[in-house]
């Protein structure tokens, strides 16, 4: 399996191919999708894309961590993290596609 990395460019190329808008507009629309998702997540909103997955925000409490190299204790401040839960459909397709 030769592993490739896709970027925004590949997504806008797909929109260009599938929808038939200009390359420039396709790129702007891909950006717009990511922008609206980021905006919603930025306000703490959950983003639920049916048949793809759910992005949700979790609040983490402050805790003491350790520098694994030196063993020193370091405080970790409370923070928000984003978790992605793939849909069943996505999990099934990814599992099926990568079956040895």
């Amino acid at each position: 399996m030769s592993e490739k990395t896709l970027t925004r460019m590949d997504l806008s190329e797909a929109v260009f191919r599938e929808v038939g808008l200009s390359r420039n507009e396709s790129a702007q629309l891909v950006e717009s999708v990511l922008q609206h998702m980021s905006d919603a997540l930025g306000t703490g909103e959950t983003v639920k894309i049916s048949s793809f997955g759910t992005f949700s925000i979790r609040d983490k409490n402050a805790r003491m961590g350790r520098n694994p190299k030196t063993g020193d204790e370091v405080p970790i401040s409370p923070r928000r993290v984003l978790t992605f839960r793939p849909s069943h459909l996505m999990k099934d397709r990814v599992a099926a596609g990568n079956k040895a």
Binding site: E3, T5, V47, S51, V94, A96, N98
Partner: protein, 93 residues
């Protein structure tokens, strides 16, 4: 926010596109990501995050209802890592 709300926001900003078109565009973006992962590829969207495939080893699972042991095969699962810009934004930085 759900898929239809995302479509609506983009449609509102692009009055020259039909609802159908916008649905198609949004569908294509997510479909392309799933197809890449199904091929074993990664998708890296700077500032937003990266989708990749992780391996899960085979394990002995249990049927939670009956307590019976069942063999679960090794498999590949989708994984998302939040990008730095978005992570910073969530934390007001």
């Amino acid at each position: 926010m759900i898929r239809s709300e995302l479509i609506q926001k983009i449609a509102d900003e692009n009055p020259h596109l039909t609802q159908r078109h916008v649905e198609r565009i949004v569908h294509t973006v997510f479909e392309e990501i799933i197809e890449a992962l199904a091929r074993g590829d990664r998708v890296e969207l700077r500032g937003f995050g990266a989708f990749s495939v992780k391996a899960r080893d085979a394990r002995i699972g249990r049927n939670p209802r009956t307590g019976e042991s069942v063999e679960v095969e090794d498999k590949k699962i989708p994984f998302f890592k939040t990008g730095k810009a978005l992570r910073d934004r969530l934390n007001g930085r």
